[in-house]
Symmetry: D2
Subunit: 344 residues, 4 copies
């Protein structure tokens, strides 16, 4: 931590700052120039708790340097983590694909979708049984009934199941039926939910919040890991920006950022990331080329009839076409050793 003093800060101000730092057992170093004085703090910043140095007289600004997450950090865990989800490895260099409808709408539609997903070559079936919707009047999901259909589809196809949990009460049923539990963007900082998920014993897919920084996202992972659950997979799903042409702005640089800052696997959601089916294939290709560990995408046999997010769903044919490209591309990159990520 570096504390920048006002140009007019007095000796006493600086002494007070240093005393406050030393009081909690940290070391302070002063650097003084003609126009500025700064105080560096060495040691474990968490000792400061939230003591508000910024409110001391003469303090202009504080710059945080060390990261507040540890378990999620590559610094403390240099080797990349491979998460095993019911036998499917995520993060081992072989991208996985999770596909399916946005919401579980009916048993028949889901089973049909699962067959398509399986035929296309994905390893996971996705589908929401609990839907967080902006308006209370939108379809909110089939809940436990939807979970049962997902489990049935797994039986029939061998696909693993990933589905979202939106409340603490939902954790038990979702953990019972799903192989991978998704935390959605709107719940990325629902800390109560994160803590409970950390105790549920199932791998977690943690979507980036709508306007979360990468640091906040890794801190959200830290909440889960800190409760004893190391199996966290991150998912970039687009961030909120001023651009209105796309639903969100898919931040593919987050793949490289996460690979540098963390040892956790990261996958990409080009459906929510763009909101437009036409952009799914190019962004899926791009994600794989950027080094993502996988994709999660919406597929619907009849997008126009989908109860949620149809415009960003792929038809069967487009899904097959995307999968064909993804498979070729990832195989080629592996064979040619085209690793985009610079570790360390």
């Amino acid at each position: 931590m570096v504390i920048i003093m006002n140009p007019e800060a007095t000796r006493e101000n600086i002494s007070e700052v240093i005393k406050t730092i030393e009081n909690v057992g940290l070391e302070a170093k002063i650097m003084e120039g003609a126009q500025q004085k700064i105080v560096g703090v060495i040691g474990d910043k968490t000792k400061l708790g939230s003591v508000a140095i910024g409110a001391l007289a003469g303090v202009d600004n504080i710059v945080s340097i060390s990261k507040s997450y540890k378990l999620a950090s590559r610094e403390f865990h240099p080797q990349s983590t491979v998460v095993d989800v019911a036998g499917v490895k995520i993060g081992d260099g072989n991208p996985v694909v999770m596909a399916g409808p946005c919401a579980v709408e009916s048993r028949e539609l889901l089973l049909e979708a699962a067959e398509i997903v399986k035929e296309g070559g994905a390893q996971f079936l996705r589908g929401g049984a609990y839907k967080p919707r902006t308006s209370p009047y939108s379809f909110q999901g089939l809940e436990v009934e939807g979970l049962k259909y997902l489990a049935e589809a797994r039986e029939k196809t061998g696909l693993k199941v990933v589905t979202e949990v939106t409340t603490v009460e939902g954790i038990k049923p979702v953990a019972e039926y799903a192989d991978l539990i998704q935390i959605g963007a709107r719940n990325m900082q629902n800390f109560g939910l994160l803590k409970e998920i950390g105790k549920c014993g199932k791998p977690v897919l943690l979507k980036r919040g709508l306007s979360a920084t990468i640091e906040e996202w890794l801190n959200a992972a830290e909440y889960i890991m800190n409760e004893g659950n190391p199996d966290v997979i991150l998912c970039e799903r687009g961030i909120r920006t001023y651009e209105t042409y796309t639903r969100n702005t898919l931040d593919l640089s987050a793949v490289a950022a996460v690979k540098h800052l963390s040892h956790l696997p990261i996958i990409v959601d080009p459906s929510h990331g763009t909101g437009k089916w036409r952009m799914i294939k190019p962004m899926a290709f791009a994600a794989i080329a950027a080094g993502a560990d996988g994709l999660i995408t919406e597929v619907h046999q009849n997008p126009a009839k989908a109860l949620s997010d149809g415009s960003q769903s792929l038809t069967k044919e487009r899904y097959f076409d995307m999968m064909n490209g993804i498979k070729k591309l990832s195989r080629f990159m592996r064979e040619e050793n085209l690793n985009p990520i610079i570790e360390g």
Copy 2:
């Protein structure tokens, strides 16, 4: 709803769109020009559920027109709502002030702070017993113990108590001790929490999400109101933008926007909205001048020792100074009939 067709959309494409609309009992009207064809949809849009018109062939884009919230809308409820919180009226033209520490840190500190808050003239004591923190290693609040201190401070001062709830399990204790229950920015789209709050029978202070649009915010209010709780007060607390000088960008235009779109009262939080104590007074003055129904601000007898957000807290002296200005300003505006808001 207006559906914009691709220039190359065929007759069949348009027919299919119209059929889909009419199938759910809505009426469709076509407008055709040389380069563009659009289809307007008349009637209650919720009938469409989430049928994804956007995924039909030939559809280029969809523009939503009617609002998805009703109970929160001024259209359906032209008269401004005044919320009565344990006898204090919010929204009646007399701005209220809620002040206190960010977090309840100890019994002594809180009681001392409450005396200051009371002396300055605020009507509400604020203070977090449950703190949603970015890092799991930061101070998380005193929980029920903190609630009891708040209740004790109320006994001693007569101030009303506003405090945040972060989980469904927390609703019961918070509702027992608080007069006004706060939903924080990070939980604005925690829909499970919103629904339960809607049933708790207490007035709610709903903070705007970090990057929530005004429409999403009013939809969040709708979730609460739809469960039978009409007593919602909105709170603008700054939005996330590219600017890093301030913690958030306080969007004071939201006051005018909410007054136009909704009948609900709105207050402003200049502490979180700026992150800098130096900006609290100017932004508090500005909020009152813009027509806000009140303020919520952080006050701490020793900001430098505060366990949370000290840099954005006012000292006792600065709080008194701000209150002095606020009182004069709001009295003057009332006496001179200087109403900034243009209703209707």
Copy 3:
């Protein structure tokens, strides 16, 4: 400047960083903790030119501390600047108002508008003769003809004239006819234009760029001042955010920020800042209450017929109503000594 080294940075890496810093005549100080090493740089950072410390081995990140602007900075010029524009003082505690149509449309309309502006009590007539428009097919302004009408309106009313310059070639005619030259948001980082404006000898109204940070904005002022022109007035006109309800998000906290960081006057544009006439009055009140040195707002006798930005223009009646409030409010604040700004 503070240089944060990678945890795995070697002794050699750190030595190389220090050598590079000392080579340009600056002093380096090391701070070393268990998990992090940082190097502080003391002295005039501009000596570093753009030597890219960040590209040295072992460097993780660089944090800039000292400001890159000097002439615009309050640190180097503690006393607030009052700019005299043809006899009207800006920044002396008496807010000024600049009003008029977005664009000069015709001689008759402008002269009529000027009478209204005058009658309402503003000191400046605004009106664009050169219009920067997103589309090449939109009305681009009457150019020199428009400037002449502005000068004629000044003759008739005694109002001062503020108008925008968009090109280097335009500086000469604009400087000839205008009292105050405006640099629009889209040109805030048109550095060629800024440099030439710095030599023109006329006061400048520098609008904040659409997505400019406060620091970039003050650096833009520095470009002008560095050419010998000290008479710069800043204008907050809204920034680009994800919110679509308003045309821009008016950042009123910029008033307090500028007053703290700089000695230059700052005014506010609630017309462009919101894009909605209904929001002009509340945001104008708020700007004055926040301590702004003035306002610039659009007024049009028949907004529906305006060739540009009619939706954000005030009618004559609404303008008079706003002016009435502004005058009362600013007089009251002066008389009561309600200064929102905390200097120093």
Copy 4:
């Protein structure tokens, strides 16, 4: 264009809107529902000029539908454009690479860099002779001297030259020495410059503005094309968002958006787009996989000594490594017919 009326709009309000539309020769159609009335406008919207329908009584909002650009639009020019720059084709399915230092620093450094760029396999040498810098005290470029070095490097290597122009006066010398003229992000809406560039007879590389929407960007291209210059290549270089980890947020979805909305070629700048050399390779791979027509990237033989942007420059070795991957990837995609873009 669709005009949304207030729920309380009267018959007279609607008549006035329709009259205003018909007065300029356009056709108006009304759609009326229980809660809303909308008016659709058919025909060439430019006829409306900037008549401010939004300021008419009873109008709530206006939704623009047709695009304001024509020459840049795929609707009016369905076939993809291939721009020929001194014999190098851009947009023909073979990605091109432009590489070199951010700024031309000296003759020796540039010639040496050019050899590296050539050896790595790029077709273009980049390097700024005129540098738009945030601070007036930063290195501003060697100007005409720099242009001459670029031309000399072209002689020696056969590379084409791309360099930025920042002022109207600079167009003549830049057009004399460069093969491709770059308009930087900060000048994307410097309309005076765009118009003059449109007359210069040279192909133009138009960077996206720091916070420009895709529509504004295509309108900027329209300014150039409208002056008679059809040879515009777009360049995505990252947009400004709340995320601070990267210098900008590289919006790779813009590649797919531009390919859908326009016939112009688009390349990607992963150096400015991320600000971190470590992210250049993954984002370059991603751009190619997404269907970009090329890349522009910074290469410097000694990034730590670069006078500008060293942290985002590739060393020789990393540049060769990236080029190796890019070449393999693009060849593979061509051979396998892996086209990410869905035309039409």
